[in-house]
């Protein structure tokens, strides 16, 4: 599955050819192999990433030296450490590709300039960020409401292809369960 940024934007806001050109002058395309590091702990997050193809994970190392995943991004999703991106401060996170990925990135300083150059894009990014915020509100609500097992079942029934693409130990990390327990839940489920 692949979703170009132009296609994605077009779903919300039609852009003229010249606007597409301007957009492309503000963005950078890159292909990153599996396990490529896009952001490391201690660096400032300079880019906002759009996933055209592939999958990203965002994680930090907790005080038990384990990787704690807080977010994933699939095709059509944008990802960055927003705090670092906005404040120009070192990030606590790593962003890494889980599979070979095709990405489009916008530099933090370019972002406001891009909105000035193509004001229509305001609507696109507003919709994107509202969806992002809606998803995180929902995710937080589920985390409060459901037991971890319920959350696992909810997650796997709503996103079955995702469960196929992402290694089991990463799903476990994201859900706050041990890999062994996720294995057991998977067996119970099938």
């Amino acid at each position: 599955m692949q979703l170009s940024l132009d296609e994605h934007i077009n779903r919300f806001v039609p852009l003229s050819e010249s606007e597409k050109q301007i957009l492309s002058s503000f963005t950078k395309s890159q292909v990153v192999k599996r396990r490529g590091i896009l952001l490391s702990n201690g660096e400032v997050s300079r880019s906002l990433y759009f996933v055209e193809k592939g999958c990203l994970r965002m994680y930090f190392i907790n005080d038990k030296s384990a990787e704690q995943i807080t977010q994933f991004a699939l095709e059509g999703w944008w990802l960055t450490d927003f705090f670092s991106f906005m404040d120009n401060t070192p990030s606590d996170y790593f962003i890494q590709t889980i599979e070979a990925s095709k990405l489009v990135s916008i530099d933090r300083l370019a972002f406001d300039e891009l909105l000035k150059a193509v004001p229509k894009l305001e609507r696109y990014f507003r919709i994107i960020m509202q969806k992002n915020l809606a998803a995180s509100q929902l995710r937080t609500k589920y985390l409060y409401e459901m037991s971890k097992e319920e959350f696992y079942y909810h997650f796997s029934s709503n996103f079955p292809e995702f469960m196929q693409r992402v290694p089991q130990y990463m799903v476990a990390s994201y859900l706050g369960l041990t890999p062994e327990y996720v294995s057991e839940l998977r067996k119970r489920n099938s």
Binding site: F60, N62, M86, P119, R123, M129, Q130, S136, Q137, L143
Partner: protein, 181 residues
């Protein structure tokens, strides 16, 4: 005495605004003076607006099946808050948005938002920044919730936001942090 940040003052932290533009903003928004415990949104209503806190404090929470309150977010001076799912999909909200103290809140409904951006396109930059800040806060909160024990969480939170912890009842902070005795 708590701070108050008017909406034009807050916007000017990000972009310039002239007096005419300030008037336009005032015309499309509504101002509410809330007493402690007043509601802006109740469960099963449809959330049609974004809310900006000029002064005071709002909380957004839901009740689980045991009628326990879980606070998703707070908003103090300079913060925006809304139920994004209800707003985007226009279906009924699961949340309550309530004042935890006397508050002055600006309401910008969804349709007025669109008209406002058409009239003052550079506000798009302001709102994008706001949403990024909001997303940053969500990411930070997620990180805290994943890392720490209840005691560490409470301690870290109260060390980071001492003024806030003074303003809000302890049970509400605990609800927000997901700590239940």
């Amino acid at each position: 005495m708590n701070n108050s940040i008017t909406l034009p003052e807050h916007i000017k932290k990000f972009i310039g605004l002239n007096p005419d533009e300030e008037k336009v903003i005032q015309k499309v928004t509504k101002t509410f003076h809330l007493r402690q415990s007043d509601f802006l949104l109740r469960k099963n209503q449809t959330c049609l607006s974004h809310y900006y806190v000029n002064s005071g404090c709002l909380r957004m929470y839901f009740l689980d099946e045991h009628s326990i309150e879980h606070i998703l977010q707070f908003a103090i001076e300079g913060w925006w808050i809304t139920d994004y799912n209800s707003l985007i999909r226009r279906h009924s909200s699961e949340y309550y948005i309530q004042a935890t103290e006397q508050s002055v809140v600006i309401e910008l409904d969804k349709d007025s938002y669109g008209r406002l951006i058409k009239k003052i396109p550079k506000l798009g930059i302001y709102f994008n920044n706001i949403m990024q800040i909001n997303l940053a806060a969500v990411q930070t909160k997620t990180k805290f919730l994943r890392t720490m024990s209840n005691e560490e969480l409470y301690l870290h939170f109260s060390n980071s936001f001492p003024a806030f912890v003074d303003r809000v009842p302890k049970e509400m902070v605990e609800s927000y942090l997901g700590i239940f005795a």
